[in-house]
Symmetry: C2
Subunit: 234 residues, 2 copies
């Protein structure tokens, strides 16, 4: 499986609800994630949720005993969404540089799909929560870390497979590729233009410079030539 922007690389995360209680819980969490994605977790209160969902506060408390439990479950839901849309399909597809590409491509598609908001939940959350104590901050950092580790591992694997030059630092490559994504997202939030689309040739230009000579440089010329190259490799 090779991902490009013609295929939304998503898997449904919906396990069929086992009970009405579970169904209510999922409805609450969906709304909580919507608020958290649009306005940040701090905007999430049990009172507001109760009002928006036309539920009683005590009904909500039956599911989430505190604001912290609610925040944690919301972060968990966002994390699962990201795993299902990006990490799992990338891990199920290809290896080395192909997986590295798929991770970045699926990240872009995930942002482009605008679930609830143009801003991707975890980028803002990482910057706001990085220096805070407590389990919510920890859960947010662990999701960003999971993404960053997946990038690092794919870079390492691509080096081991002699697709990428082995002399460059794994952490630095991961940070630069992630920077192309986050930087394109930043520009997109400001200018709402073609920045996310432009991230793809920028990624390929960077990969071309990092590539070992086992891959023809012509493969990196455009997203189209790159997809063709990957297809031929199968």
């Amino acid at each position: 499986v090779i991902f490009d922007d013609r295929q939304p690389g998503t898997r449904s995360s919906a396990s069929r609800p086992h009970s009405q209680g579970e169904q209510t819980r999922q409805t609450i969490l969906a709304r909580a994630l919507k608020i958290g994605s649009r306005e940040g977790l701090a905007a999430l209160t049990i009172g507001r949720l109760a009002k928006e969902l036309k539920m009683s506060k005590s009904g909500l408390f039956a599911h989430f005993h505190s604001k912290e439990t609610l925040e944690l479950a919301t972060v968990e839901k966002a994390k699962n969404g990201f795993q299902n849309a990006v990490l799992l399909p990338a891990q199920a597809s290809g290896r080395g540089i192909e997986r590295l590409w798929n991770l970045c491509e699926l990240w872009l598609v995930h942002v482009e799909r605008h679930i609830f908001s143009r801003a991707y939940f975890f980028t803002g959350a990482l910057f706001v929560y990085a220096d805070r104590p407590g389990p919510v901050a920890k859960a947010i950092k662990s999701s960003s870390q999971e993404w960053f580790d997946a990038l690092r591992k794919a870079v390492e694997d691509a080096q081991a497979r002699r697709e990428l030059d082995r002399s460059a630092s794994v952490g630095r490559i991961a940070s630069e590729l992630n920077g192309i994504l986050v930087g394109a997202h930043y520009a997109y939030l400001l200018e709402n233009g073609t920045s996310l689309r432009e991230a793809r040739p920028a990624l390929l230009a960077r990969l071309r410079e990092l590539a070992a000579n086992t891959i023809p440089t012509s493969a990196f010329q455009s997203p189209r030539s790159w997809i063709k190259y990957l297809e031929k490799m199968h």
Copy 2:
């Protein structure tokens, strides 16, 4: 003036307080910015400020008539801090590629100085507020836009001065350089290692690829060789 990481490129923004009222206002805003930087603007309430500063709520209301006025003044203070630490010194120094470098260098120093928090206020705020209506979101976006426009303008100027290749898109270059900074910051928040320092050679590698042949490639070899090159140009 060439900025490198040996010189904190800051200018004091402290105009001498004209009155005790103004002094109190600045004390309140300093604390507000501390809270906003560490925990996000949403954590900022008049009640909390009153408690932390041992002031009466009514005393605070005399300075800030609403949470929104307080948030706006806090964003304004953060914006002034960024202007004084990054934008103004860069604009007062060099032109073209030198100013482009100084903007990036001063941005890194500003983050490295850890004012209140490892996270730089506006990056998190942009991601959290990008899709929200209202004057606070507008003020946050305008500060990020001011930074991004300064980058774009320096890129344009460097192209006009034939320091950078004129065929590349200004917006894409600005987005990529900003991405190197934000990506390094992201990695730094997760790993607390050398990511911010590594942004400098990464920036130079990118500038080398974008440079016109008016600059010897050896200049881009390391931050040290780059500073020497800029010094020689004066």
